[in-house]
C-alpha cells in the first residue's frame, strides 16, 4: 500500500513543479503568489520525503517515471516538462531528502527561464551545473553534443593507422643504455610572493574588459588594409556603443567617442577613414540607440549630470528626431528632464529639425519642444513657434505664448496682441505675462492699450490683477500716470467694478514701490470698500517697508 502512496506523492511533486513553472512566469518575486507557490511545492517534496530519502525521476521524451511507475505523461510539445528536460540531454534527476527551500526556489527559477530566446546562452543542464545543487543529482546524455557520432572511431583508426610499418623500439632500447640520464626538470616551488601576486592579478582580472577590447579595435583600424576592414571596425565600435548603452555604461560610451574623435581629429588621418569613423557618431544618435538610451534613462538609475552632458556632447543633430520620438514615450520625470536637456543642447545645432517636433501629434511633446525652443533662445525659432499659437490644446498655446515672450523679438508682438483677444482667460493672462517679459515700449503700449479698453473693466478681477502685475514691470511715467488716473477715478454707477480697478492700481503701485503714490494711497486706506482698503493698506506697507 505504501508503494502506491509514495508514487502518488511523486506525482504530486511533478504537478507542483508544473504549476510552479507557470506561476513563476506570471508573478514577480514580490508577489505573495510567488512565495505561496514555493511553499506548496516544498510541502509536496516534504510529503514525498516522508516515504523515501530521495526522489529519482527517470526522464523520457514525453514521460517521467519514478521507479517503473509513470508519474507524468504528455504528448504535446507545449508545457511538456518531460520534453523540457529531455531535449537538453537530461535523462535522470534526483532530489535528495535535504533539498532545501532555497534550493527549490533556485531550481524553480531554472525551470522558468525562456531557453528559446536567442540571447539565452544556457540550457537547463548548464544552469543545474552552474548552481551545483547540494541535493540535486542528475544524469545527462552528452552524445548529442558530437556533430558526428562516429568521429571517435574514425579519428582513433586514423591515428593508429599512422603507425610506421616498423617502429624502432629495439633501437630505442639500445639507445636507452647510451643516452644521458634523466634530465632534471627541477620545479621551483611556489612562494608566498608568487601566490600574493597571483591573487592580486585575479582581483584585477575581474575588471571590465571593454577598454582593452577598444584598444584592440583601434589597433585593427590602424592596421586595416581594405574598405571592408574599415567597415568592420566601424561595425565593432557601433556594437561596443550599443553594448555599453544597454548596460547603462555611459562613461564607456564617452570613452569610445573620445577615442574615435581623437583619431578623426588627427592631422595625418586620411579623409576616407574620417568618413568611416563619422558613422560611429551618426550611429550614436540613431533611432535604435536613442531608444535604448531612453530605456536606460527610464530605468530609474541615477545619472550624473556631468556624465550625461558629456555624452550629449558627442551626439550629432541626427539624434534630434529620435529624442523627440522618445520624449513622448518616457515614463519618468527625470528621464524626460534629461531628454529635454539633451534637446536644448542639440537643438542649437539644428533649430529646423527640432521645430519639426512642433507638428508631433502628442500635445505634451509639442509643449516640450516649445519649452526647449524657448530655452535655446534662438530668434530663428519665432517663425516656427508663431505657427503653433492656434494649437488645439490650450496647454500648448500657453507654452508657446510664454516662449514667444522669452524670445521677445518685434515679430512676436502682433501675434501676442491678437492672443489678447483669445476667448480663454488663461491665454490672455499668459499673453500679458509674455508681453511683460519682453519689456519693450511697444509691448507696454499693447498692454496699456488693452487695459484702457472699456471692455477690459468687465473682466474678472483676477485677470485684471494679472495685467496690473505685468504693468508693474515698467516703472515709468506713462504707467504712473495711467495708474494715478485709475486710482483717482470715481464712479457713481458701477462703483464696485471701479473699486476693483482702483484696488488693482494700488496693488500695482505697491509692486512698483512707487512713493509718489503714497498720499493717494493714504487717502483710500480708509475707503468703505473692503477690497480697496486692504489693497491700499498692503501697497503702503510694501512701499514704506519694502515688504
Amino acid at each position: 500500500m505504501e508503494l502506491l502512496e509514495d508514487i502518488k506523492a511523486a506525482k504530486d511533486v511533478v504537478n507542483a513543479l508544473l504549476k510552479a513553472k507557470k506561476t513563476f512566469r506570471m508573478y514577480p518575486e514580490t508577489n505573495p503568489m510567488y512565495e505561496k507557490t514555493i511553499e506548496d511545492a516544498y510541502a509536496k517534496f516534504r510529503s514525498f520525503f516522508d516515504y523515501r530519502d530521495e526522489l529519482k525521476l527517470k526522464i523520457k521524451q514525453n514521460e517521467l517515471f519514478c521507479d517503473s511507475e509513470q508519474v507524468y505523461h504528455n504528448t504535446q510539445k507545449e508545457d511538456n516538462i518531460a520534453l523540457f528536460f529531455f531535449k537538453d540531454g537530461l535523462r535522470e534527476i534526483t532530489f535528495k531528502k535535504g533539498f532545501s527551500h532555497k534550493e527549490l526556489e533556485e531550481f524553480l527559477k531554472i525551470l522558468t527561464v525562456d531557453y528559446d530566446r536567442e540571447v539565452v546562452d544556457d540550457d537547463v543542464v548548464t544552469l543545474l551545473w552552474e548552481r551545483d545543487f547540494h541535493n540535486i543529482r542528475y544524469v545527462v546524455d552528452e552524445s548529442f553534443l558530437a556533430e558526428d557520432e562516429d568521429y571517435e572511431t574514425s579519428a582513433v583508426k586514423e591515428a593508429r593507422d599512422k603507425a610506421p610499418e616498423a617502429d624502432e623500439l629495439a633501437r630505442a632500447y639500445a639507445d636507452a643504455f647510451k643516452e644521458e640520464g634523466v634530465k632534471d626538470i627541477s620545479i621551483v616551488p611556489l612562494t608566498d610572493k608568487d601566490l600574493h601576486t597571483l591573487v592580486k592579478e585575479l582581483e584585477k582580472d575581474a575588471y571590465n574588459k571593454m577598454d582593452k577590447l577598444l584598444i584592440i579595435i583601434f589597433e585593427m583600424l590602424y592596421q586595416a588594409e581594405s574598405k571592408s576592414d574599415h567597415e568592420d571596425v566601424v561595425h565593432f565600435l557601433n556594437d561596443a556603443v550599443e553594448f555599453s548603452i544597454r548596460h547603462g555604461d555611459l562613461e564607456t560610451v564617452i570613452r569610445i567617442m573620445e577615442m574615435t574623435k581623437e583619431v578623426t581629429d588627427g592631422p595625418s588621418v586620411p579623409d576616407d577613414i574620417k568618413k568611416y569613423l563619422g558613422l560611429v557618431f551618426s550611429f550614436l544618435g540613431s533611432d535604435a540607440e536613442i531608444k535604448l538610451l531612453g530605456e536606460f534613462l527610464d530605468s530609474g538609475v541615477e545619472i550624473e549630470e556631468k556624465v550625461f552632458d558629456e555624452y550629449v556632447r558627442f551626439l550629432d543633430k541626427n539624434a534630434i528626431q529620435p529624442f523627440i520620438t522618445i520624449l513622448g514615450e518616457l515614463k519618468t520625470i527625470p528621464a524626460r528632464k534629461n531628454v529635454i536637456n539633451a534637446l536644448i543642447a542639440l537643438g542649437k545645432k539644428d533649430i529646423q529639425s527640432l521645430a519639426k517636433g512642433l507638428y508631433d501629434s502628442r500635445w505634451y511633446v509639442v509643449r516640450n519642444i516649445i519649452y526647449i525652443l524657448g530655452k535655446i533662445g534662438d530668434k530663428k525659432a519665432v517663425d516656427y513657434l508663431i505657427k503653433t499659437v492656434n494649437h488645439s490644446d490650450i496647454r500648448v498655446r500657453k507654452e508657446v505664448i510664454k516662449a514667444l515672450g522669452e524670445l521677445g523679438t518685434s515679430g512676436v508682438l502682433q501675434t501676442l496682441k491678437e492672443c489678447l483677444d483669445d476667448p480663454e482667460v488663461q491665454i490672455r493672462t499668459s499673453t500679458a505675462r509674455a508681453l511683460g517679459n519682453i519689456r519693450s515700449a511697444a509691448a507696454k503700449s499693447i498692454i496699456l492699450q488693452r487695459m484702457a479698453d472699456k471692455n477690459f473693466n468687465k473682466n474678472d478681477f483676477n485677470e485684471k490683477k494679472e495685467f496690473y502685475e505685468v504693468l508693474s514691470r515698467w516703472k515709468d511715467n506713462d504707467v504712473i500716470e495711467f495708474l494715478m488716473k485709475i486710482l483717482k477715478k470715481k464712479a457713481f454707477f458701477g462703483r464696485a467694478v471701479n473699486d476693483e480697478n482702483r484696488a488693482c492700481a494700488a496693488y500695482c503701485f505697491g509692486l512698483m514701490g512707487c512713493k509718489e503714490a503714497l498720499p493717494l494711497l493714504y487717502k483710500i486706506r480708509d475707503s468703505q470698500n473692503k477690497l480697496l482698503r486692504e489693497y491700499a493698506y498692503t501697497a503702503i506697507k510694501r512701499i514704506e517697508y519694502g515688504q
Binding site: 546562452d121 552552474e130 571517435e152 591515428a159
Partner: protein, 467 residues
Amino acid sequence: MASKEEVFTGAKDIINQLAVIIRTAAIHDPGNVAVTTAVDKFVALMNPLIASEGELTLELGGEFFYINETRIRYSLEYLPNFDFLIREFKKRGLGSIVFKSIMKGADMQTFLKAFISSIFSQSPFETLSEDMAGVHSMSVGKLRKVRDEAEGEFDIRREVKKSYFNAVSYTRGVINKIKSGEKIGIKKAKRVVEGMVDLILEEEQLLLGMTAIKDYDEYTYHHSVNVSILSVALGQRLGLSKKILTELGLVALFHDIGKIEIPNEILNKPTNFTDDEWVIMKKHPFWGVRALLKLRGFDATSMRSAIVAFEHHMNYDFSGYPKTRKRFELDFYSKIISLADQYDGMTSSRVYSRIPMSPDRALSLMMERAGKQLDPILFKFFINMIGVFPVGTLVMLDTKELGLVYQSEAMFLDRPKVLVILNGKGEKADSYIVDLTEKDSNGNFLRTIVKTMDPNKYKINLAEYLL
C-alpha cells in the same frame, strides 16, 4: 548555529587550519603554546559547524578534499596547505576524519600525537586508528582507492575518451559552420566545456593524457580542444570557480578561430613557412577578433574571446605578435592560454614547428622562456600540472623495462604510471601498466625512471598504445 552555506564557506579554513596545526605540532612539543593556540582555534572553528551539521566528515577522494560529500574548491592563498595535507593524508593511508560530536582540545591533541607518530609505523593508518580508539568525538577512515578495480578504471578511461572525442567532433562541426557563414550559438559549446571541467575536477590526469596524442589528420580541431583542456586544468590549479573555468575553456576553444581564414595549403604545409606565409600567419589574431565579434556580437564571453584571440601570441614580454602602438597588460586568460598553446604546439608536428618535440623537451624549453615569453608564476603551476614526466614520455626504468608514461600522479610528480612496452630483457611483450609509487616490503620503490627519450625519434605511435 551555522548555516549550510557557512559550513561550506568555512571549509577552506578547516583545511588551512588543520594543516597549520599539523605543521606546528610536527615542530613543537604538543604542550607548546603555539600548538595549543592553534588547536584551540581549530576547535573553535569546528564546534559550531559540528553542532549545525550533527556530524562532519572530512574526506580525501582523489586529489580533493570533501566535507560531507561536497568538494572543497582549491583556494589560491591556501594552496600550499591543501597540497601539504593531501600529501600527509596519503603518506598515512588516511582517507577521512569524522567529527562525530562536539570535541575538546584534548581530543585534537590526541589526534595530533597519533597522526605525527604514525608516520614511523610500518602500517601508519592502523597505528593511527588504534591510537584514536579512546577518542569518542572523532574517528578516522582508511584511504579508499578511487578505482580499485581494473574494470572501473577501464570505464572511466572510456568515458574520458568519449568526452574528448565528442569535444573534438563538436569543434570540427562548429568551425565548419563558421567557415560556411552559419550563425552558431554557444549553448552546446558550454556543455562541451562543462563536461571537460567536470573531468578535469575528477580525472585531471586522464584527460590531460588525451592531449598527448597528436597523430590525427585534423589536428587543428584537436589542438583547440587540447588548449582548452590544458587551460582549464591550469585554471583549476589556480582555484578558479567552475563558472570561470567554463568561460576560460570556451575562450581557449576559440583562440585560433582566426586561422579559418588562412589557406589550407599554408596551414597544413609540411615544410617551414616562407616569410610571406609568416606574414599571413601573423594576421590570424586580427582575423580571430573579427570572426568572434562578428559571430557573437558583444557579450562578456565574446569580448574575452576576442581579447585572447588577439593576444595569445604576444608573449609575456611582448616579443611576439601582433605589435601594437599602445602598450597594455596582457589579459590573465591570454597568459594561461598562451602557455597551453605553446606546449601543445611544440609537442605536435603541425603547428608552427614542423618537428614535434618530446613533452619533456618542450617543458625544458618553456622553462627557459619562463619570465621572458611566458608568465613565470603560471609556468610553475603548469609544470606541476603536466608532471615532470608528461603522458607519452618514453622512459627507461631501473628494471630495464622500457615504457611510455601512461598517467601522471598529481602528488608524486616523478612517479607516474608507466605502460611497459619492452620488458626487462628488451623483449616486446603484452603491454602492462606499472605504478611507480609502489614499494616493496622494505619500503623501497619497486621501479624508478632512469632515462627519458623522445618517442618521435623512434617512430613510436602513441595512439597505438595510449588510445
